[in-house]
């Protein structure tokens, strides 16, 4: 139980540092082109790595998760907002799991 609080405070410390240090210390733009490019790509890679295959494993039926992935990509391509895309994924899973036995 106490361990959970230690985990939470470690995460908070790191996240706050990541957010606040550029605001307080770095008052000039980063110069290294590689570093700037690297940092630009990091979020997309991390999120992609965490989305697949995890989305397929999160649902009761893997097929429903796979369909949610495709539906989410489709909704995002059509310009859906955060809540539209997230909602589309949920509805697809709910409906498919009603059908798949």
């Amino acid at each position: 139980m106490a361990r959970n609080y230690i985990y939470i405070f470690i995460a908070f410390g790191v996240i706050y540092a990541v957010r606040v240090l550029p605001l307080t210390l770095i008052r000039k733009p980063l110069r290294s082109r590689f570093l700037r490019s690297f940092l630009y790509y990091v979020p997309y890679v991390t999120l992609a790595v965490m989305t697949f295959p995890a989305i397929v494993e999160a649902t009761e039926k893997p097929l429903a998760g796979a369909a949610a992935l495709l539906a989410g990509i489709g909704a995002a391509l059509l310009g859906g907002s955060l809540i539209t895309v997230a909602g589309t994924c949920c509805i697809v899973v709910f409906l498919l799991e009603l059908i798949i036995k």
Partner: protein
């Protein structure tokens, strides 16, 4: 429109923060389900979300808590999964007026999220801390309460509903990564390589014995460095 112009910056922030709060609430509920699976209490989930306000970062945190990971692993994974906020804060730092008090730098830094950053940076002119606080005032509590309710009600809701809600978080990730991937080949490669190699790392002998957190770190650093070498960004392309 007249009314909107007359609103003070804080009220404008609240107004623009409401749709964000609604989205956060739904996604946080799904995050709460992940937190419940990791063995967190509703209060711990509330605290984690209030302090961290990070979707992917908290999701990674809960996964590691569930796996009983080492503290250094949590620190490293949190650093990697939240590296994007570093970039956003860098972008925000360029918009700070020289007359702004230093305490605002410390306070704005508590909630640099994808969406709050998005509306804050989209405002013309120098960064307005009060606008940022207005959005935080509605979005952050929605995030924290949603997480706690996800932990509480995740056990009450039927498994089929939980199963459906558990993909909301991934849906949000897709909403962040897919539109830029459509515009830029380099980002599309990031996403495709991320998907493929993450799947491969989970099935390849040897690699699959690494913890999920370590695999995320190695893949993120490796793929991002590769794409940065292949597609270095031009000055004017800068900023998320």
């Amino acid at each position: 429109m007249d009314k909107q112009i007359k609103l003070n910056p804080f009220a404008q922030g609240v107004r623009d923060g409401i749709p964000i709060a609604l989205g956060y609430f739904a996604v946080a509920f799904s995050l709460g389900i992940a937190a419940r699976d990791a063995g967190l209490t509703p209060w711990q989930g509330f605290l984690a979300s209030l302090l961290c306000t990070a979707s992917a970062g908290e999701y990674a945190l809960f996964t590691l808590v569930g796996a009983g990971a080492a503290y250094w692993e949590v620190a490293l994974v949190t650093l990697i999964t939240n590296a994007r906020y570093f970039l956003m804060s860098c972008a925000l730092s360029q918009r700070i007026s020289p007359t702004m008090k230093d305490r605002h730098r410390w306070l704005v830094g508590t909630a640099v999220t994808d969406e709050i950053f998005g509306i804050s940076i989209a405002r013309p002119g120098p960064l307005e801390p009060k606008y940022h606080y207005g959005a935080m005032a509605v979005a952050v509590p929605a995030w924290a309460i949603g997480t706690a309710l996800g932990i509480l009600l995740g056990t009450i809701l039927p498994p089929r509903v939980v199963s459906a809600l558990s993909v909301a978080l991934y849906g949000m990730f897709l909403a962040i990564i897919v539109p830029p991937a459509r515009k830029e080949v380099s980002v599309a490669l990031c996403v495709v390589l991320g998907f493929l190699l993450s799947w491969a790392a989970g099935v390849l002998p040897g690699v699959k014995t690494l913890s999920a957190g370590m695999r995320t770190i190695c893949l993120t650093v490796g793929i991002s460095a590769l794409i940065a070498l292949l597609f270095p960004r031009k000055e004017e392309q800068d900023g998320p």
